[in-house]
Symmetry: D2
Subunit: 474 residues, 4 copies
Amino acid sequence: MERDIFSNISPIDARYYKSSRELLERLSQYLSENSVIRYEALVEGALIGVMERRGIVARGAREQMKKALGSITPEEVYLEEEKTQHNIRALVNVLQRRVSPGVAPFIHLAATSEDITGTAHALRMRDAFYRVVMPEALSLLDVMLDIAEREAATAQIGRTHGQHAVPATVGFLFAGYADRFGLRLQKMIEAVDSLPGKMSGAVGAYNASSLIFDDPRKFEEEVLAELGLKPAAYATQIVEPEFLLDLIHGVVSAFGVLAQIADDMRHLQRTEIGELAERFEKGQVGSSTMPHKRNPINFEHVKSLWKEFCPRIITRYMDQISEHQRDLTNSASGRFIGEIIAAFTLAVNRLARQFKKLVVDRARLRANLELIQGAFLAEPLYILLAARGHADAHELVREVTLKAEKEKASIFELIREDGRFLEVVQLDSWKNLERGPEHYTGRAEERARAIASEWRLRSEALRRRCSEYREAEL
Amino acid sequence: MERDIFSNISPIDARYYKSSRELLERLSQYLSENSVIRYEALVEGALIGVMERRGIVARGAREQMKKALGSITPEEVYLEEEKTQHNIRALVNVLQRRVSPGVAPFIHLAATSEDITGTAHALRMRDAFYRVVMPEALSLLDVMLDIAEREAATAQIGRTHGQHAVPATVGFLFAGYADRFGLRLQKMIEAVDSLPGKMSGAVGAYNASSLIFDDPRKFEEEVLAELGLKPAAYATQIVEPEFLLDLIHGVVSAFGVLAQIADDMRHLQRTEIGELAERFEKGQVGSSTMPHKRNPINFEHVKSLWKEFCPRIITRYMDQISEHQRDLTNSASGRFIGEIIAAFTLAVNRLARQFKKLVVDRARLRANLELIQGAFLAEPLYILLAARGHADAHELVREVTLKAEKEKASIFELIREDGRFLEVVQLDSWKNLERGPEHYTGRAEERARAIASEWRLRSEALRRRCSEYREAEL
Amino acid sequence: MERDIFSNISPIDARYYKSSRELLERLSQYLSENSVIRYEALVEGALIGVMERRGIVARGAREQMKKALGSITPEEVYLEEEKTQHNIRALVNVLQRRVSPGVAPFIHLAATSEDITGTAHALRMRDAFYRVVMPEALSLLDVMLDIAEREAATAQIGRTHGQHAVPATVGFLFAGYADRFGLRLQKMIEAVDSLPGKMSGAVGAYNASSLIFDDPRKFEEEVLAELGLKPAAYATQIVEPEFLLDLIHGVVSAFGVLAQIADDMRHLQRTEIGELAERFEKGQVGSSTMPHKRNPINFEHVKSLWKEFCPRIITRYMDQISEHQRDLTNSASGRFIGEIIAAFTLAVNRLARQFKKLVVDRARLRANLELIQGAFLAEPLYILLAARGHADAHELVREVTLKAEKEKASIFELIREDGRFLEVVQLDSWKNLERGPEHYTGRAEERARAIASEWRLRSEALRRRCSEYREAEL
Amino acid sequence: MERDIFSNISPIDARYYKSSRELLERLSQYLSENSVIRYEALVEGALIGVMERRGIVARGAREQMKKALGSITPEEVYLEEEKTQHNIRALVNVLQRRVSPGVAPFIHLAATSEDITGTAHALRMRDAFYRVVMPEALSLLDVMLDIAEREAATAQIGRTHGQHAVPATVGFLFAGYADRFGLRLQKMIEAVDSLPGKMSGAVGAYNASSLIFDDPRKFEEEVLAELGLKPAAYATQIVEPEFLLDLIHGVVSAFGVLAQIADDMRHLQRTEIGELAERFEKGQVGSSTMPHKRNPINFEHVKSLWKEFCPRIITRYMDQISEHQRDLTNSASGRFIGEIIAAFTLAVNRLARQFKKLVVDRARLRANLELIQGAFLAEPLYILLAARGHADAHELVREVTLKAEKEKASIFELIREDGRFLEVVQLDSWKNLERGPEHYTGRAEERARAIASEWRLRSEALRRRCSEYREAEL
């Protein structure tokens, strides 16, 4: 059923589809209504498969199902649903029409709808992550590692409270982003791998399957094993909601890392700061009336998407509650989970594209470092004094700082001239500092390199896992 | 640009589009990307219109614009945006190509992008509400008033803490729903009517328009008046965000009323209660494996949509913050507002459809009223005792209640036999109560009728406003 | 019952109590557990009062109640509650002990607990707002109006996307803050004035009071009138939750305005910007190791409080749902509302204190205006060209801007030398602009003054309302 | 500084302190302002300790610190903070006064405030969990396991959509609660154990400590090891926020499990259901006017606390963003984290107390099972038919169910009489079912026992970990 995308109401299906078509097509394979039906049919197929192996349904049943799966369309299932008012019953009816009369009654046998729906959902999530989300995320991770290494030694003033603090390096900053983001990816993969399926019937107690099998839990394990899944220890009509919640927590908290990055970039691109910036494309218009503008629109976009999607985690926490053996108030809401994953992947992808061409303005970095001439000396002076046992080190330094500020004098000179600092100014380490703020970056470069190199290994390991996953035939 | 709806990721553009196509098509006229561009062009048209009237642009300019508006397509604008990376500049370029060279330079003159975008947004919201949301909401209000009046005298046990309290009536319950929902509609209309437009330039200070007009604020008022809007006292690049926030607060809090209704209905349909229920359609399947099930799937759906959309209000509160004269981090997020309005309208519509055929099971209502035989007497006994100055009225009644419970005795008899209650049991009002719990409903019926009749008037007034709005040519 | 404040778990009762003791003591009169009991007793008093007037209870009853109210303590009520496990029953018992046996049975007669609790809550909220919150908020409003007027003409570069846009003035910025904040105060007052009480019994249908009065709704109105309140059209056991929700929406959205202000201030105090700043006190320590730091800790604090309290609005939306005639799941949560109001008032108070001594660095304002020399000319050049019918005005200006940037040339000169701009550079308005960016502030000063003067009037009106409220004896 | 608790504004410090004093006193040791200062001093002590071991400060320094730690009071530190406007500098000043002049300058040397604050926070969280939260949670887990085992075979109708589905057992229900809750506890412990400390200075790059040590990261590890902590790979001024976020996610999602349990209990206690209930205490008052009420006030309380605290997770996600090397907008908000933990522990404790005396009404359980006579047969009939290859099994059963409903006939008889079911009704498994719904509980009992016994082991292991933790001297 075709429709003009510009008539869609969700920006993901309209505006962002237009601008990120290829990526959204890939995600659509796991997050669309189409995929819902396809994966549910797959689970029904696995169910028949095990019944065939166990001799309950005639040989060839699974083969029939495979063909059936390939040919059903969402339209057909929806048409049937208009009659049944029940989506899984509709799917079963449609499948039954496509297999032989001897096989038809066995479709869905011993399963409740949620055995199919819940299991299919786990499968879709897993595929979406291993096939699209994770590869995209690793690309972003890698480009951040590139910057971390390339700019490991590029000094940059550190900022706390929006105020100049002491220097570190651009690479150190990006190593931190990579570390935070990478740790989130590991959380996500862990959560994805924990997603259980189920095949335990209407209230999770194997009531129906107990009538057919002596070992209904064993049967459940077999069906799920066909799909690469495991059951949890317990289920009601639905799988325990915490597994999925942990995954979405992983996504939303990873999104939070992107939001931090986007905010940092926005501010570092401020007119007054200008250290890092989005590349401004030829022909691009900054403003409809102010042609000189260079706006960080992509970083702003990422932050804005986070604002839209972060609060949606609350729905996930609400969906932990499903009265008794389940109510359906998590059904419609559950259908919107795909949007969170799509939006996150869009943000990841956009950030990666920007970072590949990130503008690093070395002149501005240097100029900012020297903006408050010598202010960076306050901390080392205090440290070196205190380390020598000076009683009022902090107060002393506060004094000389205020004096420099008041008299607009060079703090270097004030320190050099003040007898109380004699012991310090003769130190080699002090002389090194006098060469400039870029010589007071601590272990920023070393740490940037160490963190980046650790994450290179982990990134490759994750990438390998994704490849292996894709290669393993379902 | 056509696409299979089943490839969409948002349920609103796929699953719910399939099942509520007609309604979503109507909403799409105001909430889709298509409508965004159409309304923005409309604002550019009004701008030219006033310039023509003021003699700044040649006569006939507005007429040219009208034709241009009618022929542009989103595809074209998006294609242009690929070059400009700026959506309003793209629109302006496309419009300029369609008018004469004498008119072209005046398109968008003195406006900043947000003058167009923000004003168009206010217009779309207003049209969406007056043309679709409000009429749908009034239909729901009316059907609730129908039930309030029809069932004004139908006694129903009141429930507090899930425990039987004292009786009221079904009509009283629905009168309450109507009152709460109706008050929300009034809030919404108030908020819609307050939405301001703007035409005050890049930072809201009329910098650009001051160069052309001596009375830039007057000019702004004229342009907005063309569109039926007014400016607020102040704007930066964007209109003050609180006006829109109040509207969304109206929507989300009205949604909360629906959530309460849905929850009540779900519980009143419980197997053990069964007082009110969704009509179960012929051919409908309750469960894929439990054919006897009668599930309140529509009420569950409404509650579930609320769970999905209520937390999104947080994004609106976050979007109050737009650094300095504006940052763009409210742009992507702002595009998702249409989904909230669409989902609310879907829920309204679904509830109205269900209420039109609501099952009221009088036998179950009666049976439940009498479930704890005589328990409802506890309160009036206590009241009548206390009103006669009995010192320990509450304690006395507690005692007899516990006794009846313990001895499984009739509380009527225990009271009648207990000398301490003699004074009370001889009262006419007591004798009336002994006729049964339906005689202890206070002023439920009277209030149900009074509230319903008040809202009949208000509902008609609102409906009239909507009609007048639609009839007024823009 | 005394306890060391440093053992408290809530920062409001410990850290912030220490630093804002006087303000929190005032708020405590309406928001503490102590006040809960005091106001509930007050409602019981009003109930007796009307019964006395109607001749149901003996003369002098109200007088007895007044004395009783004055002498009860929370400890006593809590001790009683340990027995009853019911807070209102405990209060009633305690009150009954303090009045004559003839009056005792009439205490609480015909009321359900929520008649007392809900009504008392409305009273506490109203008093808190008129007596503390609103006066504090008006002080903040006034100091912002002071700045708006004082700095009405102080030019400041406008910033969109964090990039320099075109200039406005500091006063214009503060006029906008005042307008947004002031409008929120009006919303709040409107919501406060709408808070209803109730006296309609266990399920809102006047079951109990109908036994005693022929006109139970009239009786309700009388009792509430004693307290300056009105009933809503409908209630269940509880008042409709939307009235309180609107109030909290008012508070949280006003808090959002503070968050915007705090963010703006934080950024304007950045080392690289330095236009506005918190006054740094003598003796204050910026950092434990970096004595040169000047951190905007108060602005940061306000933003941080907003982050803590904004999401709590979700609880209020959740509390719209109270199953059937009420469940108790809004009880514990409802007790935390006081924290929101307290935190908002703390933030208001802190911001007012900072703004009274706000540092306005005129040199930095000027320096920043001239940071991108002449860039501000891009917009007016484009406007003046386009207004003269130039076809490619936007493109032309984009070109010259890029050229100036590339060649590091003066844009003034480039424009003056370029024949295509001849017509423009001869204009008086252009010559005016050449005098500097402070001459391109549009109507910023005029609007700042107009908005400020309008709000002076409204602020006084609001302040008068608060005084009148305080003076009216309850 | 003493204050009447009833003047406090937070219910945790007033109402709930009154009713859960002992528990809140224990929590206060780790969550109060008092504890904040105590733990921060502890970290300063560890720092001196390592410096003494490394020979930087004179021998005996740590001993001096130990004494100092024991004698400082919050009042003193707060008094000092009034001067410094900086809490850590105030603490350092207070400590310095208590040690010898030779030691004083070395206090806090090379540390930034957040090295102390962040590390102390991790320690407090860990202690709170191992010493109070986890032991309380394990008590709840254990009582749920008790019920799971005791009621493993107690049949109970399963409910989906609020409608009777097929039976399981009470023990199975509680096994599920235990499994979900237990898994959350494991997540929490994992998160607690991951909390890092830091000692890497103002921007995380070891700038200051590099001046004193050749191996600043090694030094950091040594200091943290003193406290049983480790550094993360990266820090800015603050530790990466995701570690704490994961912990709070653990708490809030565990709280969600409690909310589900509370909701289930509330509904199972409904007048019409009455299967499980809170024990009603002698003397307890159900309602101030309806003495017969038995309200699930404790279950309602737990749900209500969840409503209050769940949305606060949003603040934690917001606090992931701290601009550049940190802004302070996570400081005030971070102080409220203790409330979440306290409220969760209160809920855990209350639920455990209720479950210890949970009323299980076997008569009502049995009556409800038989409420829709024979309806439970629909599923097994369908299964057994389908398993025999019947083409229209689902439709056939739907038919007979509707017939039974319509004719108010016994479904047992209808089935027995209908030739189409002949094959099925002769099966042993069918005859077993005819004995009653309690014979169609699948593997509920078996699974309940298996899950309970697995969690017994895990619970003991967790308990052992807590004991070992407590025993290990810090």
